[in-house]
């Protein structure tokens, strides 16, 4: 009998599953470091979507034929995969939406409209993506509620010194990003949720950036709402997930009305369907949900802990090689961070960095990353951001550093 040793992460085997990694950009092999923006798709996800359309395509929940039954089964199986992925108690707690943004908007338009009134308070953080700011501002405009903002330190961490003081009897919700898309900072959401619950305040977690980098357990986290997007989790665009604690979801009024979200309709009285269907009006993105199910399978086969450990090695390597680039300043230095390298290069604007790297085949994002308040807080007009995924290698980060050194010479010499 052999003793099993922990499997070493075989990045070449992972890369082989991604057809797009074979393409060239400006005649250079693609080095894709824009994963925080969207990730590439493995063969299994592409196949799942393609197979659905080739072999099973039908509408769900309403067809009186075999294919319809199969489509329904696959769609619901994907929901159960997501349930297990998040360790939700029940599959009914998983609502399919378009993306994390739509998940936040759904909560603002249901829970928010039901329970948040003039003078009530919503706590957000200075680190939020616009997706977890603007829906609440829209709600505040309509209701007269107000937003209070938890500040960020110079290191790019949340300043929780006065967390307790943020809660008042008028606090109705706290919204927090699990992992910053700009800095990679991982926030202590469990601690913040526990404090919020002491004050009877429900918490929404934006897990768009964390869900594909680290294990998420909604029961251990004890969040009330959690959202993420499929396309960042190696799945298709146009599909995302809203997790809501069952008791809250039952209380919430529907947002969009239409087919499938009803039990019975008459002009006198319409009875809504049970959860989660009450929140899935109209024909959903069936192939997208099935593709997301395949993506969840893919990432769980890698193993979230394995992936986290590998990506952390990569991140440390990236931090080390970027620190050696003359004139480079890393933005953010949180003690708990993951998979994001935001930086500026003295004498070269991020936009120019992006264009020059592109000509070396290296894809990054530049600009303000849909997080204007955080950028203002950090007093940087724009950054260049390299973000890691399961298929990146330390050689790619070496290539990034080398290219950056060359770029700086071009601009500064």
């Amino acid at each position: 009998m052999t003793v099993s040793t922990p499997a070493k992460y075989d990045v070449e085997a992972v890369r082989a599953k991604f057809p797009i990694l074979g393409v060239t950009v400006h005649n250079k092999p693609l080095v894709y470091l824009d994963n925080a923006n969207t990730t590439q798709k493995p063969e299994s996800v592409i196949e799942a979507i393609s197979n659905f359309y080739r072999t099973t395509n039908s509408n769900i929940h309403r067809a009186s034929h075999l294919l319809g039954e199969q489509a329904t089964n696959q769609y619901e199986a994907a929901r159960k995969r997501v349930q297990r992925f998040l360790n939700a108690r029940e599959w009914e707690e998983i609502v399919f939406v378009r993306n994390a943004t739509e998940g936040v908007n759904l909560i603002a338009n249901t829970y928010g409209r039901q329970y948040i009134r003039e003078g009530d308070e919503i706590i957000l953080t200075e680190m939020e993506h616009h997706a977890n700011i603007v829906p609440w501002q829209l709600l505040c405009e309509r209701t007269g509620a107000v937003i209070k903002v938890l500040p960020v330190t110079d290191d790019g961490e949340l300043d929780l010194t006065n967390l307790y003081n943020y809660f008042t009897p008028r606090t109705k919700l706290l919204g927090i990003v699990h992992m910053s898309n700009v800095l990679g900072t991982v926030n202590p959401v469990e601690q913040i949720i526990a404090t919020a619950h002491e004050h009877g305040v429900p918490v929404l977690v934006d897990a768009a950036q964390s869900a594909y980098h680290m294990p998420i357990d909604v029961q251990a986290m004890d969040c009330d709402f959690l959202v993420f997007s499929g396309h960042k989790l190696y799945g298709p665009t146009g599909i995302g997930v809203l997790y809501t604690r069952r008791a809250l979801l039952e209380e919430m009024e529907p947002w969009q009305g239409g087919g499938d979200m009803i039990e019975s309709v008459s002009f006198a009285r319409t009875i809504y369907n049970q959860v989660p269907y009450k929140f899935e009006a109209g024909t959903p993105h069936i192939a997208g949900a099935i593709g997301l199910g395949a993506a969840v399978d893919f990432i769980q086969t890698l193993g979230m802990e394995n992936l986290r450990a590998y990506e952390n090695e990569l991140l440390q390597h990236g931090l080390a090689v970027l620190t050696n680039v003359k004139g480079l300043r890393l933005i953010g230095s949180a003690s708990n961070r993951a998979s994001v390298l935001s930086f500026t290069l003295d004498g070269v604007h991020p936009h120019d960095i992006g264009t020059f790297l592109d000509f070396d085949g290296i894809a990054i994002r530049t600009g303000q990353h849909c997080a204007h308040p955080l950028m203002q807080r950090l007093k940087v007009p724009a950054t260049a951001r390299a973000s890691l995924g399961c298929y990146n290698t330390s050689q790619e980060l070496d290539a990034l550093a080398e290219s950056l050194t060359k770029i700086r010479e071009t601009f500064v010499s």
């Binding site: 936009h351 020059f356 600009g367 204007h372 007009p381 724009a382 071009t410």
Partner: protein, 152 residues
């Protein structure tokens, strides 16, 4: 540097980026304009001293990519001392050049002088707004609009 990239980032552009002309405040300005490119985080402020229908002096400040900084620098050099009507003609020609709206004649290109280096921009639609930010800001400053210009 790759040839295509050199087409976009000509030496003149890199030079102006490094050492821009007319950069800084203008204490006796009487028209100011604010231009933003929110997607990139570019921000430029233009200071003008208009006198008798002429741009007597002009400076700029702010943050931006090499294309937008060089464009602002070369624009200030091109319009300083010009009448508003002359500046408008240069603006139109520059706009046509970077958007690729029409081919400029040899004479027009000659008249534009160094500004002709921005011809490479029209192959990069995402960079057209970088090249034109300063110019739109100039128009707004002349018009005396206090609304910030945005390229989005």
């Amino acid at each position: 540097m790759n040839d295509e990239l050199r087409e976009l980032y000509q030496e003149v552009i890199l030079d102006h980026n490094k050492r821009p002309l007319n950069y800084g405040p203008l204490p006796d300005s009487n028209h100011d304009g604010d231009g933003r490119n929110p997607l990139c985080g570019d921000h430029i402020t233009l200071h003008l001293k208009l006198q008798d229908g002429q741009i007597a002096d002009v400076t700029f400040e702010g943050e931006g990519c090499a294309i937008s900084r060089a464009s602002a620098s070369m624009m200030t050099a091109a319009v300083k001392g010009k009448s508003l009507a002359e500046a408008e003609v240069i603006f139109q020609q520059f706009h046509d050049l970077v958007t690729g709206k029409r081919e400029l004649t040899e004479e027009e290109l000659d008249a534009m002088g160094k500004l002709a280096v921005f011809a490479g921009v029209h192959d990069y639609p995402a960079r057209v707004k970088c090249a034109s930010l300063a110019w739109h800001t100039l128009n707004a400053a002349i018009a005396g609009s206090d609304q910030p210009v945005t390229t989005e």
